[in-house]
């Protein structure tokens, strides 16, 4: 329960709440509302050996793998869908053994988070049985149901040390408004020891209530205003997915030898401030272009062509 009146802090301070070896849950999903600015800061601040838990992710997890800050992946999917395909850094890190592969599945994750949220050691479920997932996860147990007699799978409670979320709006007390698909953000936030949030805009409580409160302040540890903090993933209604930059990312990521010089240096390590990153990716011109989705179907569609 986090009751501090004013939870605002700088991005550097925010990321300072993440420690080496933490279990980290990343909000958003695929090309949408990933807390990318915070992840870049995390890489810059040298936080390492993270265990990642999540459902469907892309550039966020791939970049962390490329920066060699991940020890274990408990994700359900890491890739670029039909857009670019497999995640290059993630693949290499898994195949080399640098990252321990403990793939999960979406509902398994949901049930494990729910166990933590309800304060119980496990949750029962039916699915997974008969698949190879059981071998990957010896911590799952089988029980004979005292009611139905059938075999059920028990999955243990999972508690992230930190959840990192990017939201559209917050007030300084930590109430959040998340617009659009929530993915697992709310479950993560309720299950985690700490919840760290970047937001496009910090507004008055009254304005936030008009937007609607998606997550009450009680779960939120600290928050930082970071406009365009999800770039190059989307954060509607502010900006769409930057497919052009993601294509550049993907090309850089395909080559292990040059990923550092081609991507991490210019876009992460050499940008001490988020504003420097924004300049590096095209500044106002790029951001205005990505806001053009609102102008109409043609303009929106043109962002993907």
């Amino acid at each position: 329960m986090f009751t501090e009146n004013d939870k605002r802090c700088s991005l550097t301070e925010l990321v300072g709440f993440i420690h080496d070896g933490d279990i980290l849950a990343i909000g958003g999903g695929l090309s949408s509302r990933e807390p990318m600015a915070a992840l870049r800061a995390l890489v810059r601040q040298g936080i390492k050996n993270l265990t990642l838990v999540g459902s469907a992710h892309g550039i966020d997890v791939d970049m962390l793998c490329g920066a060699n800050v991940v020890a274990v992946s408990n994700e359900s999917y890491v890739g670029f869908e039909q857009d670019f395909g497999m995640a290059p850094n993630y693949r290499r890190a898994c195949e080399s053994g640098q990252v321990q592969v403990l793939d999960s599945c979406c509902y398994t994750l949901v049930q494990q988070l729910r166990a933590t949220i309800s304060g119980i050691p496990f949750m029962p479920m039916r699915s997974i049985q008969g698949t190879s997932m059981m071998q990957l996860h010896p911590e799952y147990q089988i029980m004979k149901c005292p009611y139905s007699g059938e075999e059920l799978i028990l999955v243990p409670a999972l508690q992230p040390d930190v959840t990192l979320i990017h939201a559209q709006y917050a007030d300084q007390h930590g109430n959040l408004h998340i617009d659009g698909p929530l993915v697992a953000d709310i479950l993560f936030a309720k299950a985690s020891k700490k919840v760290l949030v970047t937001v496009e805009k910090i507004v008055s409580h009254k304005e936030l209530q008009n937007h609607g409160i998606t997550l009450p302040f009680i779960y939120v540890t600290k928050l930082s205003e970071v406009s365009y903090g999800a770039h190059p993933t989307s954060c509607y209604p502010f900006y769409a997915y930057d497919r052009k930059h993601t294509a550049e990312y993907y090309r850089s990521a395909t080559n292990a030898e040059t990923f550092l010089t081609d991507y991490l240096l210019p876009y992460v390590f050499n940008c001490n401030q988020h504003s420097e990153y924004l300049d590096a990716v095209g500044g106002k011109q790029t951001m205005n272009l990505l806001a053009q989705w609102k102008a109409g179907k043609q303009q929106w569609q043109s962002l993907y062509e």
Partner: protein
């Protein structure tokens, strides 16, 4: 590039979409997951033709019955959520499946075996040789959804730099991410008392299979340009052939127009391999319009 105006023939992708759409019952809840534009197309097509009461849940956004203006190359995009009647949450969607209320799910894999098991996790059994992206919620849904449609546009063996051809339809999966009709230790699916009944259709770019009573894939349809022998040569396992083997049905001109309006950028063609981009099928009858 996508403004196909010729309504006398359909692309391979359109034939696949039509075959996948045939498996979708009206009035059920079905989910297309992410990274599967052929399935997205099939669901939107079904909703606009034979399954108007379909509860179409969009993968990644969890929007219900959206009417997107165009398909985007990534799934978790507000463009894909446009016009949604209402929305579910991730936990709600998976709960619906676990409680027996998801009528159908669509799954694929880099390896698919005779029982409809699928691998999207890794190649290599003891040692990981190729890390695949992972299955999202596919593993759970393969157990929970009432019925599964399996699809792949890559049944054709891959020319391999080494000697052995690489099969998509394999003798045995290195890892079972999504469950078909037999488990990893060769038990029958039905003995597990899972919520779902497993796959009843496997649609590929070479043929269409159902699953017989033992849960084994059985060829039921070929394409106008394929036959049983061709399909056998691209399939690592042996399979039975239906007595009623037919050539696949194709969409009509009206249907083609519906499909082509859904995806002006042709995102769904990303699932089609280069060698198949020019496979077209002449429609039986071409309605003038």
């Amino acid at each position: 590039m996508n403004n196909l105006t010729d309504l006398s023939k359909c692309t391979l992708a359109e034939a696949l979409i039509f075959q996948i759409a045939q498996t979708i019952e009206d009035g059920i809840l079905a989910f297309h997951g992410f990274g599967s534009p052929l399935v997205q197309m099939a669901l939107h097509f079904a909703k606009r033709t034979h399954a108007p009461n379909l509860i179409l849940v969009a993968g990644a956004t969890y929007g219900v019955n959206p009417t997107p203006d165009f398909l985007t190359p990534t799934s978790n995009d507000w463009a894909m959520d446009r016009g949604s009647e209402c929305s579910l949450s991730i936990e709600e969607l998976f709960d619906l499946a676990a409680s027996g209320r998801m009528g159908r799910m669509f799954l694929s894999g880099l390896q698919i075996d005779r029982w409809g098991n699928m691998n999207v996790t890794q190649l290599g059994r003891d040692k990981l040789k190729l890390k695949l992206p992972g299955g999202g919620g596919g593993c759970n849904l393969s157990c929970d959804a009432n019925r599964l449609t399996i699809w792949t546009a890559a049944h054709h063996i891959q020319a391999s730099p080494k000697q052995k051809p690489r099969f998509r339809l394999v003798e045995s999966c290195d890892f079972i991410t999504n469950l078909g009709h037999r488990t990893v230790d060769n038990r029958l699916r039905q003995d597990l008392k899972l919520q779902g009944l497993g796959p009843d259709r496997l649609v590929t770019e070479l043929g269409v299979f159902d699953f017989d009573e033992s849960g084994h894939a059985r060829l039921i349809k070929v394409y106008p340009d394929t036959d049983v022998d061709i399909i056998r040569s691209h399939t690592e396992f042996d399979f039975p052939v239906s007595d009623q083997l037919t050539v696949i049905e194709l969409p009509d001109a009206t249907m083609l127009k519906i499909m082509r309006n859904l995806d002006p950028m042709g995102v769904h063609r990303k699932e089609i391999r280069a060698q198949d981009k020019n496979r077209f099928f002449l429609l039986d009858s071409y309605d003038e319009w």
